[in-house]
Amino acid sequence: MNDQTLNILSSIIANATPLVIASIGETITERVGVTNLSLDGSLVLSAMTGFVAAYVSGSVEVGIAAAMLVGALIALIVAIGGIALRCDQVAVGFILTLLCADLAQFLGQEYTRKPGPTIPYWPLPVLSEIPVVGKILFTHDALVYFSFLLIIGTWFWMFYTRAGLAQRAVGERPEAAFARGVDVNRLRYIYTMIGGSLVGLAGAAYSLGIKPGWQTPPVMLGDGWIALAIVIFGGWHPFRVVFGAYLFAALRALSNVIQGNPNIDVSPVLLNMMPWMLMILTLLAVSSGGIERLVKLLPRRMQRSTRNLLRSDPPAALGTRFKSD
């Protein structure tokens, strides 16, 4: 592999990181049956807060903590609205999407286009020496490595721990979980806020990482919706969700390469349409039964395992309410 390819692959990993963290956060939230639709606004507001906090305090850590706090607070509003007050979760999430974007623009107006601190570049001592893989995976900042741990950790937590079983049960069959002594609504609050704080972290990953600083209109506008779509595309399974996020970042990188190459003549309009076309097409693929038809074409023996691999049913209790009496 030549250096250019390695650089591109490495930048895909870096650029995908906020999407990875945000979509894992949303996966964690939706697995307990709560939809936090406010992602697009949460990302923007937490990115602004993270940058401003880091700018004012001069410390990246403070910025990250502030961003995570903002993400968790927004998620708390969604949870209170959906669980305690039994409002429409979609309505609360959507209002927050608009509100947070405006709030970020208003409160961040003094801080646009200013250079500020960023998360330091930190190639891992030994691992980055590994040929090919080291360059791609281990020459980034700490947040990227954290996202790797997060992926593995979430998967292990969900499928190999008792607490993770309870988490999934709350999202699938809250009545059964309740009968087994799980405090359904408490878990919903906890995981929604954990998911929200990860979304906040993803916001900081933009403003302190790959797209440093703050400006209006925010650079990450629209990525929240893409992260929400990636969760559906990924069938609420951490690995597939992450695969979706990297795939998306790869296609984005590809379109940048095409745009930068004078020999290929593709209308930039087409390239700008691509993410949205892709979003519709992937959702179509998982929802319209197209996959099921494709699976039927396979030899019988492989059908079952492929179906399990590609299965994408939402958590059965997603968006529903639970009353203990």
């Binding site: 609205g81 007050l85 409002c87 509100l99 405006d102 623009q105 779509a229 349409m273």
Partner: protein, 380 residues
């Protein structure tokens, strides 16, 4: 007693709005500005002369149209976030006619509006079909098709529809006067035709939802699609028709922006009005009668705050903050009120919950004592 209940309801609507004003004032204080000065500037921005007031009306017209359309889709239980893109498509279709069709002015304007309705409805029905036939949730379809409509506009402006001299991504050449909606009077730049369309649309939506079979089918589809289908309501068709109606109304709204507000096609011509319409409908919780009033107040705040940048150096997103906060708090307080009512209802013995109370062991027997009547217990 009746009056008390009304007062309580009104208070519960007023309280969150006051709270949102207070929070916004605190935010303004937080960035070292004076909230009262902001209020004064917003007021002047909206009402300082007839010109400014015409600006408010010109913003309110497309907002009311979108909100009316959204009431229709919400009635059918649909989240038509694609309303922004439907406005843009309406604007695009109207712009095509304005540039390339040669007709006498009144005919041309009629043609533009019909095309705009078609454009909006087309974009809406695509999202609807994705939802109904292919299972792509309308929120995601809507978001994607909003973005697609905007990208397509920019393509047209910077490509085929580029002005011949000084072409940029700013907008097309101004449309010929014959293609534009006429002003009410030179002193008060508002389109009479648009006001007539608004009044017609308002009564049409209100009456259609209240008194027609179609409205009833929409309600059934929205409340419980499965049982509606079992009862013989063509749920797919009524959902699609709701999309089409909302798209058509949003299309007119988009046409109004390019044919009156701007006089040419610009990028992002919807200006967030569609999203604002969603907030309006969430705030009035489906009461058609309140739509014009709330849309007008939102327009005053929005248009008035465009003055903040010049006079105080403040970003006009303050309007969005106030509106978003108000709607959020109203929705949350509606939830809270229902929970409180439920609680007081549950704590009292009424015929209904005696009937449902299995521990009592009686079904379908109403205890005829006076203190168990529903009327008497609700207000305790």
């Amino acid at each position: 007693m009746q009056r008390n209940r009304l007062a309580a309801q009104f208070g519960l609507l007023l309280l969150p709005i006051i709270a949102s004003l207070v929070i916004t004032a605190l935010l303004i204080l937080a960035i070292n500005q004076n909230p009262l000065e902001v209020v004064q500037n917003v007021w002047e921005g909206a009402f300082r002369n007839t010109n400014a007031f015409a600006g408010v009306i010109n913003f309110a017209i497309p907002l009311v149209l979108c909100s009316l359309g959204l009431i229709v889709t919400f009635t059918a239980g649909l989240w038509n976030i694609g309303v922004e893109g439907q406005m843009v498509m309406g604007a695009l279709f109207a712009s095509w006619a304005a540039q390339f069709v040669d007709l006498p002015s009144p005919l041309l304007i009629g043609f533009e509006i019909v095309l705009a309705m078609l454009g909006g409805a087309l974009w809406s029905v695509v999202v609807g079909t994705l939802k109904i036939r292919l299972g792509v949730h309308e929120i995601f379809g809507g978001v994607a098709f909003n973005a697609l409509a905007n990208v397509f506009t920019i393509y047209l402006i910077s490509g085929p529809w580029q002005p011949e001299i000084g072409g940029s991504a700013q907008g097309t050449e101004p449309f010929p006067t014959a293609a534009l909606l006429p002003e009410f009077s030179p002193d008060f730049a508002v389109s009479l035709l648009a006001l007539i369309i608004i009044v017609v649309a308002f009564f049409a939506v209100m009456l259609a939802l209240r008194g027609t079979r179609w409205g009833l089918q929409l309600k059934a589809t929205g409340k419980n699609p499965r049982s509606a289908l079992l009862l013989g309501v063509p749920t797919e068709r009524s959902a699609l028709s709701a999309f089409a109606v909302c798209g058509a109304l949003a299309g007119i709204a988009g046409a109004y922006r390019v044919l009156f507000t701007f006089d040419n096609l610009r990028p992002l011509s919807s200006g967030g009005i569609g999203f604002l319409g969603l907030l309006v409908v969430l705030l009035v919780s489906m009461r058609v009668l309140l739509v014009p009033l709330v849309a007008f107040i939102f327009s005053v705040v929005f248009v008035g705050s465009t003055r903040l940048r010049l006079s105080m150096g403040l970003d006009q997103s303050l309007a969005g903050v106030l509106q978003g906060l108000a709607v959020l708090l109203v929705v949350l307080s509606n939830g809270l009120r229902e929970r409180l009512q439920e609680k007081s209802y549950k704590d009292t013995k009424t015929p209904v919950n005696i009937e449902n109370d299995h521990s009592v062991g009686v079904t379908r027997r109403v205890a005829p004592t006076s203190d168990t009547s529903k009327e008497a217990t609700v207000h305790e």
